[in-house]
Symmetry: C2
Subunit: 343 residues, 2 copies
C-alpha cells in the first residue's frame, strides 16, 4: 500500500534541489527569478516526485483561487435525470475547465431557498471561485444576492433580469418563427404551446416570440399553457388540450420530456401523430430520435453553450472584462411527428 506515503511538497523539492522553497515556487510557476538550468532541474525533480500543488494551500495565499466553480440545478431530481440539457451543459462546462485544471461542484436542490443557501455557503467558505446560474427567473432573488457577494457569476439567460451580472443567452425568436411558420405552412391553424414555468425569463421570451410569430402567420388562435417540465405535467396538460372540442392540431413543447409524454397521451386517446396532431419538441435529444414517430425538434448546441459560459466565468474570475454574449440559435429538425393534417 503506497497509500500511506506522504505527498511531496515544494519543501521536499527545495531540499532535493538544494534551493529555497521560494525559488521552487518561481520555477514551478514559470516566473522569472530562477535560471533556465535551475528551472529545468526543479521541474524534473517535481515530476519525479509526482508533485502537484495543494489546491487548499494555493487558495489560501492572498488573491489565491481554489480552482473550482459551482453549478446548482434546481429541479426535482426524478425529472432531472431525463433532461439531456443539464448533462450536456455540464459536459461543455467541463471541457472548458479541464484545460485549466479546474473542477466543477454540482449541487442538485429542490427549491430556491436551498439554492441561495448554496451560493452563500460556497462564497463564505471559499469553496468556489465563481458560479454559473441557470433558469433565470423574473425578479430572481439570486441576482441581488450574488451581486452583493464576493462571488463572480455568469447567468445563463437574460439579458433582462440579469442585473449587473454578465450573461449568456439565446435569442429564441428566430427559431420560434421558423417553427410557427413551418407548422402554418403545413396547414395548421390551431397551434398550442406547452411551455415551461412562467417564472422563467426564457419561457416568457419564448411566449412573446410565439405570439409574435403566430400573429405574423395570421394565426389568431395560438396560445401557450404553462407546465413544469415534468412528464406528469406534460401528460396532464396534453390530455386536457386534446379533450377540447376545438382541439389543437399542433403542439409545441418547451422540452423533450413533455413532448414524449404528449406523444403517449395522443396514442392513448387514439389521436394519430402526425395525421391528426403534429408535435414539436424544443431541445433535441436522443429521446426525440428514439420514440416512434420520432419527434421533430429544435436543436441547440448545448455543449458549446456550457463551454462558453465556463469561459466567460473564467474571465470574470480573473478580473478580465466580460461582455454579455448571445449564443448560436436553435435550428429546426423536422422528423416524423409533424406533417399536414390527415396525411
Amino acid at each position: 500500500m503506497g497509500g500511506l506515503m506522504r505527498r511531496p511538497t515544494i519543501v521536499d523539492i527545495a531540499k532535493a534541489a538544494g534551493v529555497s522553497k521560494g525559488a521552487v515556487s518561481y520555477a514551478l510557476n514559470g516566473r522569472p527569478g530562477v535560471s533556465e538550468e535551475t528551472r529545468r532541474r526543479i521541474l524534473a525533480i517535481a515530476s519525479d516526485m509526482g508533485w502537484a500543488p495543494s489546491s487548499p494551500a494555493r487558495a489560501l495565499s492572498p488573491g489565491g483561487r481554489i480552482g473550482a466553480i459551482g453549478l446548482v440545478v434546481d429541479r426535482p431530481a426524478h425529472s432531472l435525470g431525463l433532461e439531456p440539457f443539464f448533462m450536456q451543459l455540464v459536459s461543455g462546462i467541463e471541457t472548458e475547465l479541464a484545460s485549466s485544471n479546474n473542477d466543477l461542484l454540482l449541487q442538485v436542490t429542490e427549491d430556491m431557498g436551498a439554492e441561495t443557501a448554496a451560493y452563500r455557503r460556497w462564497s463564505a467558505e471559499r469553496r468556489v471561485d465563481g458560479v454559473i446560474m441557470v433558469d433565470l427567473r423574473v425578479d430572481d432573488p439570486r441576482i441581488g444576492l450574488v451581486e452583493g457577494l464576493p462571488l463572480p457569476a455568469v447567468v445563463l439567460g437574460g439579458p433582462e433580469g440579469a442585473g449587473s451580472l454578465p450573461c449568456l443567452y439565446t435569442d429564441d425568436s428566430v427559431a420560434m418563427r421558423e417553427v410557427v411558420h413551418y407548422l402554418a405552412a403545413l396547414g395548421h391553424r390551431r397551434i398550442v404551446r406547452v411551455a415551461g414555468p412562467e417564472e422563467f425569463v426564457h419561457t416568457r421570451a419564448r411566449t412573446a416570440a410565439f405570439l409574435d410569430a403566430a400573429e405574423q402567420a395570421g394565426l389568431a388562435e395560438a396560445y401557450s399553457v404553462h407546465a413544469d417540465y415534468t412528464g406528469e405535467a406534460g401528460t396532464r396538460t396534453t390530455r386536457r388540450l386534446l379533450a377540447r372540442t376545438d382541439r389543437p392540431t399542433a403542439l409545441v413543447y418547451d422540452n423533450d420530456l413533455m413532448a414524449v409524454a404528449g406523444l403517449g397521451v395522443a396514442r392513448e386517446m387514439g389521436v394519430g401523430v402526425p395525421s391528426q396532431l403534429s408535435i414539436v419538441a424544443w431541445d433535441d435529444s436522443v429521446l426525440c430520435r428514439l420514440v416512434r414517430p420520432s419527434l421533430t425538434a429544435i436543436a441547440r448546441d448545448i455543449v458549446s453553450y456550457g463551454r462558453l459560459a465556463a469561459a466567460m466565468l473564467g474571465d470574470a474570475i480573473e478580473g478580465r472584462p466580460v461582455r454579455n454574449q448571445e449564443t448560436s440559435r436553435g435550428e429546426l429538425y423536422p422528423r416524423a411527428s409533424t406533417g399536414p393534417m390527415g396525411a
Copy 2:
C-alpha cells in the same frame, strides 16, 4: 455593492471578543478550553459577522479535510442525460453530504484514462477527501490505482473485483429470477437479454443470474447479447434480434434507454408489443412510464443507494471501519409492455 467587503476571519472575531484566535477556534468547534459564557459571546459575534470557516484553511491544517468528495461518470455525455440513474444517485449522495456541509465534485469523462487521471489529480491536489466509483469493471485498473493512493474510496459494485476497497452492491439474482419466471409464466420460451457492456462486473453477475434463472425455468434458448447502454446500440441490437427467424418473444434490457429504443424498433418492424413481443427494462424511470405501451420495469431505490454510498465513504474518510454492504433488491413493476403472446 457589498461585494468588496472582506470576509470575516477568526482573527476579526477574536478582536471583537477581546480574546485570542485560539480561544475562538475552541469556541467555534465546541471543544473544551473556553467558558460557556465566552463561548456564547464568540458564537454570537461569529453569527453577527456572518462568519463561515474557510475550507481551504481548514484543509491545510494537519489532518484537515477539504469537505468534498468526487464522482467520475465515465459514459458518453449524450447518452448520459437520459439515464435517471446518475442524477438519482447524485441526489442521494448529496442528501447525505448536506448534513455535514460537504460538497460533490462531478466529472464527466469519455474514457477510463481520463477517469484515472482525475483520481490522481484529485488526490495529489487534495481536492477531495474521497471518491465514489461506479461501473466496476472486470480487472478494473481503478482499483489498484486508488488502493495505492492516499484516497479513501467506496466502490459501487462487487464485491468481487473491488480489491481491498469497501463496496456497496446489489444482488440482482433474485430480481432476475422474478423477471424470468414471470415471462416464462406468460408462456415465453425465447427470452433474450440485451445486456450492458460485458466488462462491467454487474453485467456479468446479471448474465450469470439470467442463465441460472432460465435453466431453472427450463428455458434452453435464453441468452444475452451485449450492447453499450446507448439508444443507438439498443436500436441496432433489437433490429438484429427481431430479424431472426427464431425471433425472441421477450426482451429484457439492462437499462431504460435501450428498452425505449427497442420499443421503437418493434413499432418500426410492425411487431406488436406486447402481443408479439414483451419488453422489460432494468431500472425504472419516468421514461418507462411515459412511452406507450408503458414499460414493465425493475425498480431499485437508487437515491438510497447513493445516500448509503456517501455515508460509507464518510466513515472511511473519518477512519472508521467500513463493512461491505448489500442494498435493497430490485422489484418488478409489470406494466403494459409485457403479456402473453397473441393477447
